[in-house]
Symmetry: C2
DNA sequence: TATAATTTTTAGTCTAATCTAAAATTTTTT
DNA sequence: AAAAAATTTTAGATTAGACTAAAAATTATA
């Protein structure tokens, strides 16, 4: 049985490993969790001894098969709770992440089973992220970052890569939501910013940082 | 901000204080929480320094006004979650207590506000216990333990004093629920057991321990 | 390839929460 | 009112999780 802290580390390491594909460095973990490298070294030793990570001194860590299963269950709970908060408790999509960080650690298989049923077995959370099933399986929608689109190209928003309230509130303000249609009007090579049209109506200028975090499908 | 452990202690001490009306002893707390007296001494020092208990060495503790407010908010959350689990997730009344012990510690005022709204501001939980409002206020229904009724007297079940699965499953088995009508058919002076009729149909023999934990109104 | 810079680990401390064993205090019994 | 019994507190350890500072290992640079 993993503690809250252990689950948080494992989840963060799993996400970092997915992104990089390689072993995850101590510093990258410390950075992600706003903690110190020394604390990370302590924790990854503990997690390896529990069999969810494989660790070689100075070489970083990999997530084991058992670790992936455990991480995906935490992620499943996180995303189910976020979906519940929006669908049943009228939370805005920028209000759910912090609470889900707490709720994801509640231990009760029945609770998650029933929550999933109540929500009708949702496949995606309010930010467009896929919800793994009881077996940790999920399917991603094919998607590209808005940043990579060329002038005149367009797509439908399927997911946002940043869950921070600041980012989501900004998207609310300029009218971007999951399902919105975005067309690239102009791109500035110098700083990577672009002009976009949302749902064929509004036009906005957005920074590279923003366009990298909005992912689209055809 | 109280930790999980601190909230659990405070809640237990609040309940013990309500029952006795007097100061709560170290041993009574240790007993209630299945912990050791030495651990309790440590914790009550910490809770007094946080202002939620008043403590005199060797004299036991009282819950302060601030402590009562904090305790009632935890109790409110516990009972709202139990109500949610039964009303929305189809849990049986014997399955909710353990999960609510975890959920009661989630910190999010908005979550509790919305949960309360979703449930229609319920006044009682699945065991018949009153749910305090945002200000910690609640009203009890007038009630007497079944044990005190005389032969031929009857009443409606309003609450059960024991939330353990074993007890609640037994009540399910013999057909007792919140709202059931119970009539005393016979009482055995020797061991305090009694024969009762439930909803004018079934007849059962129940022990003193059981009749003390079922509370009725007219 | 030697030196410098960076990353990672180790060593030692700290706090919250728990425990056992022993000492101190209060309560009960003689 | 002593002595005995019970309760409560203290002292000292332990574990999880975090930190700082210093040492060790790795990587980059000259
Ligand atoms: Mn999230
Ligand atoms: Mn979390
Ligand atoms: Mn309960
Ligand atoms: Mn609890």
């Amino acid at each position: 049985m993993l503690s809250f802290a252990e689950e948080n580390y494992l989840k963060a390491i799993y996400h970092l490993a997915e992104q990089s594909g390689q072993s995850v460095s101590t510093n990258a973990i410390a950075d992600e969790l706003n903690t110190k490298a020394a604390s990370v070294t302590d924790m990854i030793k503990r997690l390896s001894s529990k069999g969810v990570l494989s660790y070689q001194k100075y070489k970083g860590v990999y997530v084991s098969e058992a670790g992936k299963i455990a991480a995906l269950q935490v992620i499943r709970k996180h995303r189910l709770w976020e979906t519940f908060l929006v669908a049943k408790l009228k939370f805005n999509w920028d209000e759910v992440h912090e609470v889900a960080e707490q709720l994801e650690h509640i231990k009760s298989p029945l609770l998650i089973k029933r929550l999933d049923e109540l929500l009708g077995h949702p496949k995606f959370d309010p930010h467009g992220d896929p919800i793994p099933d009881e077996n940790g399986e999920y399917k991603e929608k094919p998607k590209t970052p808005l940043f990579e689109l060329q002038i005149e190209q367009s797509g439908i928003v399927v997911t946002v890569q940043d869950d921070s309230p600041a980012f989501l509130q900004y998207l609310d303000k300029i009218g971007i939501y999951i399902g919105a249609k975005i067309k690239v009007i102009d791109k500035v090579e110098f700083d990577g910013s672009m002009e976009i049209q949302i749902d064929g109506r509004k036009t906005n200028f957005i920074s590279k940082q923003v366009s990298e975090n909005i992912w689209l499908t055809e």
